[in-house]
Amino acid sequence: MRDKLLMLLYLFCLLYLSFSSHIYTLLIALVLLLVFLILSPIEKKLKLLKHAFLSFSLFSFFISFSYLLFNQKALDYFLMINLRSFDLSLLTFIFLRMVNLYRAFDFSKTLSFLLVMAVGNAITYNRLLKDFKDAIRSRTLQKPERKTLVAFTKRLSLFFFEKSINTSREVQEAMRSRGFYND
């Protein structure tokens, strides 16, 4: 229940901040979010702050700086858009750290299982992809030729495709044996 309530609160704050265009409101929201972050039991606060900053800064700074170059008097726009973007990013990162997303979505058994499985598979596949990349790097002294890279991409897609089919079969049998389908 706690996760669902926090999700509702998050959605309310998200909407409020998205509609807000006043610099002072957005600045107060940022201060409140920072105070909340400091007082919260969240671990690795600085890392979270860094992630939230990096997730919005590239696009946001590029767009707002470009706009500032075209319109010299657009400093208030520059501040407003970056503040709003940072507020929303920070809010999302804090929410994702405080809430168990799988529990927040457990009003639907299908959605919850789908999320758990998709994330589990994505993390495993990502680790395997890293191993594959390390393998090709360790076996080629110079930058691999285009032909080698095409063959590598072909092998990768084949491997992950077959793994996906096999994994889905195995998981389906495991779910059936544990009574997920209630048959």
Binding site: L14, L17, S18, S21, H51, S55, F56, F59, I63, S64, Y67, A74, D76, Y77, I81, R84, S85, D87, L88, S89, T92, F93, L96, L101, T110, F113, L114, L115, M117, A118, V119, G120, N121, A122, T124, Y125, N126, L129, K143, R146, L149, V150, T153, K154, L156, S157, L158, F160, F161, E162, K163, S164, I165, T167, S168, R169, V171, Q172, M175, R176
Partner: protein, 211 residues
């Protein structure tokens, strides 16, 4: 393209969420009708597969490389509705679990990349293979689906300064008009489209006949 939160107006992303959820619900019903028990594990595995395709760098002539989307490959292998579902799931995971792309931009990405991209790839291939060789049709399918997605994203961004401005005429959300944002988004995506076209050829040639 990862649009962070704050650049899209709620008047745009809320209706987009409603449309996207409706389409996703319909796609899921279609998918479930054909697969029943296998639906959840198959969709989860397929989404992880598309997640990996998005992480693969495609070598381009001239020594450069770009990251593909895998939209055309998935659409041609599994059909546009299945591709739409699995790519949307990946985009959702990227926004929520992995912190890439905003929550408010998720429906725009899902509709433009997953929905329009998948449909465009599928029907481009169907039409193109009547007149062109298979390899050229695959390439065109990947290339055009990427440009179509980029065009849709640019269109959504570009309408913001016309619709949402304060009393002094200053923008409240994304600031650049269509005349600027269309070429700025479309031209770099030509390179991504070429990469996507090559990726579609590689994947389809390797995996066709294994389904």
């Amino acid at each position: 393209m990862h649009i962070p939160d704050g650049f899209l107006a709620p008047q745009v992303y809320i209706p987009a969420y409603l449309v996207d959820i409706g389409l996703l619900f319909y796609a899921f019903k279609r998918f479930k009708k054909n697969l029943k028990e296998e639906t959840i594990p198959y969709l989860a595995s397929l989404s992880a597969f598309s997640f990996i395709i998005m992480s693969i760098a495609i070598p381009l002539p001239g020594g450069t490389s770009v990251h593909g989307l895998g939209v055309a490959s998935l659409s041609l292998l599994f059909g546009p509705w299945t591709a739409f579902l699995s790519i949307s799931l990946v985009l959702f995971l990227q926004a929520t679990i992995f912190g890439e792309g905003g929550i408010t931009s998720f429906p725009i990405n899902s509709l433009s990349i997953a929905f329009l991209g998948s449909l465009c790839a599928y029907y481009t291939y169907l039409i193109a293979k009547r007149y062109l060789e298979d390899k050229a049709s695959l390439f065109l399918s990947g290339f055009l689906s990427t440009l179509m997605s980029a065009f849709a994203v640019a269109l959504v961004l570009g309408i913001h300064p016309y619709l949402f401005k304060d009393t002094f005429g200053k923008p409240l959300y994304f600031p650049f008009k269509l005349s600027l944002v269309l070429p700025a988004v479309l031209f770099p995506h030509i390179l991504v489209g070429i990469g996507e076209g090559i990726l579609t050829i590689i994947i389809l040639r390797a995996l066709r006949g294994r389904i």
